[in-house]
Amino acid sequence: MAKETAKTHKEWEKPLLELEDTIAKLREAARREADPVKQANYIEKAETYQEQCNRYVKLMYSNLGDWEKVLVARAEKRPYTLDYIQSIFNGFIELQGDRNGFNDNAIVGGPAEFNGRPVIVLGHQKGRNIQDRQMRNFGMAKPEGYRKAIRLFEMAERFRMPVISFVDTPAADPGVESESRGISEAIAAAMLKMFQLTVPTISVIIGEGGSGGAIGIAVSNRVLMLEHAVYSVIPPEGCAAILWRAPERAPEAAEALQITAKSALSFGIIDEIVSEPEGAAHRDPAGASDLIKEAVVRHLDELLLLSPAELHADRHAKFRKLGKFAETF
């Protein structure tokens, strides 16, 4: 099955895209057609195809395999952090810099209003076009990204603002520059800072939850995950390379690693799966935004009932209990 071994979301969605293209052409033809009979014919055909298309979308997205989830989570058209900030928040003011000599564009953040309340919102940001993607380093943050996040966390603490983080990164940047400025320390220090906070914190895995790069800004009181997002300790390609010296066996590795929202929920690692609209977030960004907003509002309202000390203790307790092992006494 070609579907099973597609390497990109675009490739995997190809039949659907072709069908949509045909529909668009039919509708265009109908629009230009003067003869009402021919026009009705075009429209009828378009509608038949549209029904078929809708059925396909439902079929394809209602039962995604693990590897397909990876493709969807990485989809070029999937809404990114700034899209959700735009649609869910008001008056966002981006703040920049690590105050140590560097600024990273793979993590963005700043104050904004959420549901009428000032919050700090931040997240990994991938790029849309080629230049943007390079400028954002494909959403792979360098140490200065995590240090910017730490600054924002400190600001949130100082001004009693809840923190909402969007997670969407293939991994932290693994280059020589990142190593030389301490990418490991930056990730660890960001996690440590998140543990220190006494304000409500909520993370939403919206696309790729890639390993240390993800957890670095995801140590929150509540961790939500979009239905088709993935969260993994290692990219499936890397896992396949290590296990079988065959990166092309990534789809198998994806299954072995259990990277879906459903398994993350079953292990108690996330608190809730946020449904996506039919055909996934990229086919209805506004719908996805509404669903995210509803879930975050609900969790935030719950957390706002807790005292600062309770919020701190709650977050510690949440992560303290994660892990599966046997113990004999």
Binding site: V176, E179, V233, I259, S263, F267, E327
Partner: protein
């Protein structure tokens, strides 16, 4: 000109990573400079090559013997063992095999000890156990070792040696990064000094969690220290890879660790840190 090829009969090419150091009087070959070392001298020199000063890897048990006061180490958390939560290919089998061999402490030994008479909570990674990888058991033992410092009001010393997270436990192993870092935060809040020693190798998920946020970080000379595999880093980097990339020397130069300490000075340095940074705990104890 390799001396071992000149006198092959005299050379016992015992793998230096194995716990058995060979019979007295045998010769060994340095893994780094390939020169011949008399094994008794090798042991007396704490497995540091007398020719090139290469610090060969130690097992967790030898590390404990050579660091803490004689017989003072008491192992805790011995009942913990790894399970196979994902049914990951071959993982269950591997665990069974290691169990059968009596390797039952997983990749971390945790406990309490004294150093120059000063009480500490300690954990020592064992690279021999699945590359020292951090799964649920390792994460739990590191967490308990840190919490034990708070409980017993004493400094914590952790010897790191790990390839990173244990991917066979999937996301659960990623969560150990957060869990152990949370325990470090609790130590900070409670004024418990935590000293990490980076031994060869200290990598990836371990480096990017509890290891890097220690109050003081010491590394052994030439220890491999890095976030990503060298191959990945090279692919990602536009610039040149420095000769000392991902070594203790590199991270020292880049301000990420405090000191490189040779093995023979390590014990005294650790004791000095425990004595000064933990001074307020002794003081509080004396007053109580």
């Amino acid at each position: 000109m390799n001396p071992s090829s000149e006198v092959p009969g005299l050379v016992s090419l015992i793998a230096l990573r194995s716990p058995a150091s060979g019979p007295d009087g045998a010769f060994l070959q340095c893994q780094n400079c390939k020169k011949i070392i008399f094994s008794v001298e090798f042991e007396q020199n704490l497995r540091v090559c007398p020719h090139c000063q290469h610090h060969h890897r130690l097992t967790a048990q030898i590390r404990i013997d050579w660091t803490f006061d004689e017989g003072s180490f008491v192992e805790h958390d011995t009942g913990l063992s790894s399970v196979d939560p994902l049914g990951f290919p071959d993982y269950g089998k591997k665990l069974e095999q290691l169990n059968a061999k009596g390797e039952n402490h997983d990749s971390v030994l945790s406990g309490t000890a004294t150093i120059e008479g000063l009480k500490v909570s300690a954990a020592v990674c064992d690279f021999a156990f699945i590359g020292g990888s951090m799964g649920s058991v390792a994460g739990e033992k590191i967490t308990r070792a840190l919490e034990r410092g708070i409980e017993l009001k004493c400094p914590v010393i952790i010897f790191c040696a790990s390839g990173g997270a244990r991917m066979q436990e999937g996301l659960l192993s990623l969560m150990q990064m957060a869990k152990t870092t949370g325990a470090v935060e609790k130590c900070r809040a409670n004024g418990i000094p935590y000293i990490a020693v980076f031994t060869d190798p200290t990598m990836a998920g371990v480096l990017a969690s509890y290891a890097s946020v220690a109050d003081v970080i010491i590394a052994e000379p030439k220890a491999l220290v890095g976030f990503a595999g060298l191959r990945v880093s090279k692919q990602a980097g536009v610039g040149k890879v420095p000769d000392d990339f991902q070594t203790a020397e590199f991270v020292l130069k880049h301000g990420m660790i405090d000191r490189i300490v040779s093995r023979k000075e390590l014990r005294a340095t650790l004791a000095g840190l425990v004595r000064t940074l933990g001074g307020h705990l002794l003081h509080a104890e004396a007053e109580a």
